[in-house]
């Protein structure tokens, strides 16, 4: 991990993970699991992402997860970046925004961000289809 990522993670450990939690009746619920083999009980990482949409705006966003630190940092940044944005604005966010947020370029951060943005994108499309 790059120093900036480590520093941000350590800050979260001290101040708390701002977006952790669960939203009842979330407009969009997304989940993803790790690819660790369950043979013999290697517990896998997971992410539950809850998004509350009001008037096409991401009014609130919460998550539950167990992951590696860099993934958790990426999830926190995603929450910060999309909260208060319209769904269309959120769908336009790119991986670079994560690097800019931390002020560093980290390839792993970029990979994780790409994965999460794709997940979010699928959730937004599904929500729009269901509410159209």
């Amino acid at each position: 991990m790059q120093e900036a990522v480590t520093a941000y993670y350590q800050k979260l450990l001290k101040t708390g993970f701002e977006h952790i939690g669960k939203l009842e009746n979330a407009s969009i619920f997304l989940e993803t699991f790790g690819e660790v083999s369950p043979v013999c009980g290697n517990t896998d990482d997971f992410l539950y992402l809850y998004i509350q949409v009001v008037n096409n705006i991401i009014f609130d966003i919460k998550y539950q997860c167990i992951s590696d630190p860099i993934t958790n940092v990426t999830i926190e940044i995603l929450c910060t970046l999309v909260k208060g944005k319209t769904l269309d604005e959120a769908a336009l966010i790119k991986e670079d925004a994560f690097s800019q947020f931390l002020g560093c370029k980290d390839e792993l951060l970029r990979e994780k961000a790409k994965f999460l943005l794709e997940l979010l994108g699928r959730g937004i499309i599904r929500y729009k289809t269901q509410t159209a």
């Binding site: 013999c40 517990t43 997971f46 992951s67 590696d68």
Partner: protein, 447 residues
């Protein structure tokens, strides 16, 4: 130092330990899962495939088949001791006919579970830390209504509670006691001799899952008076895909017709080629043990190499292996406790005294995102340990709660890691593990 091989000399025998990645050697501390393989064992396997890759002389009468048979059953005239005899001597069995080759420990345990003549209402008694291999076969039988499964509970120090065990024996209709001789979580070895004595007093038989014992300490089945013992060669420098079921001669049957056997004799579960003396369109007569339990073409190279692996361990000395592992575990335990014992989020699982844990050290990390440390150790310095629940799901589900892998709060995040040493590990390797773990904890902001 005596004339036996030093640890450094032993390490020279392991090609996998000489590999490098990113300019660094492997630090293999996942031996409770599978051990590394010495050159001698690899050569024995290679020799089979190169020189006499045929079936054995129990099937064919030709030159190659005779060579296979000689290497499995031995030939005293030629000074060849077969693996069946080597293994029988290794555990001090009364006869090599009491040694049945299986695929692994799981296979061996299932052979007893499925072949034992249980009566409805019989109880099989387990500990609370059984590997799935010694749990699922019994739960499956319980589902069919043939048996009831019950568990003994350890005392507050997590040691085996002989009084609690005896109370179970008094009140339950226990027909079989089936227990992990050494826990793959804690490394704790149960008092098997006392357990067997009590079980026999109440008319029950005893099956020991010796997968984590046979590689690390001397086992004397006659002294223990245990009825069955299962173990795998892949955890003791041997080939993969071969295990052993030891059974007392009188429990393996002597009658060619299994239906005429006494009610304590296990029946062969898988039958076919190699297990029968004769068959008609209507009936068959069985071979004597151990052959009646070894159906189909056998894993001959692995069986031959298993003898080589056991001899390799004997050459080092089982007492010496145990002592070496113990000293590594003492060092690791002391260091980890000194460094993290007061944090509140680091805890060694099982007895805190390293001398009760053989070469196994399992610890819990209860910090946000405690996952992934094993992968990071490997990535940073080729340190290989294990994470997860080690095939003992019920123990952790009970201890941490069913939902422990999906916590809502980060304060409930936890993960369990197991370090397991063998005779070829060194203090330097342990130091690198400790330093790398420290680095990861620092990076993660845990310390």
């Amino acid at each position: 130092m005596d004339s036996r091989k030093s640890i450094e000399e032993c390490r020279e025998n392991f090609p996998s330990l000489k590999r490098q990645r990113k300019g660094k050697p492997p630090i293999y501390l996942d031996n409770a899962c599978t051990t590394m393989v010495p050159r001698q064992v690899i050569e024995a396997i290679q020799e089979y495939y190169t020189e006499y890759p045929s079936c054995s002389g129990t099937r064919s009468r030709h030159w190659f088949a005779q060579e296979v048979s000689e290497r499995i059953e031995g030939n005293s005239g030629k000074g060849i001791k077969g693996p069946r005899r080597i293994i029988a001597e290794f555990i001090n069995a009364g006869s090599e006919k009491e040694i049945i080759f299986t695929m692994n420990t799981t296979h061996a345990l299932n052979m007893v579970a499925l072949g034992f003549p249980f009566q409805p209402g019989d109880v099989v008694l387990l500990t609370d830390k059984e590997h799935n291999s010694n749990l699922l076969p019994w739960l499956k039988l319980q589902k069919t209504g043939r048996i009831k499964v019950d568990f003994t509970v350890p005392n507050e120090q997590d040691d085996f509670d002989l009084d609690a065990f005896e109370r179970k024996m008094k009140t339950d209709r226990v027909r079989l006691v089936s227990m992990a001789y050494t826990s793959n979580i804690t490394g704790y070895t149960i008092p098997a001799k006392e357990i067997t004595k009590i079980a026999h007093q109440y008319g029950a038989l005893v099956l020991l899952d010796g997968a984590q014992t046979a590689p690390h300490q001397t086992i004397d089945v006659q002294n223990l008076d245990v009825d069955f013992l299962a173990f795998s060669l892949h955890k003791m420098c041997g080939p993969r895909g071969v295990g052993v079921l030891y059974g007392k001669k009188e429990l393996l049957g002597q009658n060619p017709h299994e239906e005429d056997e006494a009610d304590h004799v296990i029946a062969p579960v898988i039958q076919g080629g190699g297990t029968v003396a004769n068959s008609t369109y209507h009936y068959y007569t069985l071979m004597l043990p151990p052959y009646r339990f070894e159906a189909g073409i056998q894993n001959y190279p692995a069986q031959i190499a298993s003898g080589v692996a056991v001899q390799y361990l004997q050459q080092i000395g089982m007492d010496r292996i145990r002592e070496h592992e113990g000293s590594l575990n003492h060092f690791l335990t002391e260091e980890l406790i000194n460094r993290y014992g007061d944090t509140g989020w680091f805890r060694i699982i099982g007895p805190q005294n390293a001398s009760q844990r053989g070469g196994i050290l399992t610890f819990e990390v209860k910090r946000p995102n405690a996952l992934g440390i094993a992968a990071e150790l490997s990535e940073k310095n080729n340190v290989m340990i294990r994470d997860g629940v080690f095939c003992v799901h019920p123990y952790f589900n009970e201890k941490f709660g069913q939902e422990w892998t999906r916590p809502i709060s980060h304060s409930e995040h936890r993960m369990v890691y197991r370090v397991s040493c063998y005779f070829y590990n060194t203090m330097d390797e342990c130091r690198i593990f400790l330093e790398t773990l420290d680095e990861i904890f620092k990076e993660r902001g845990y310390i």
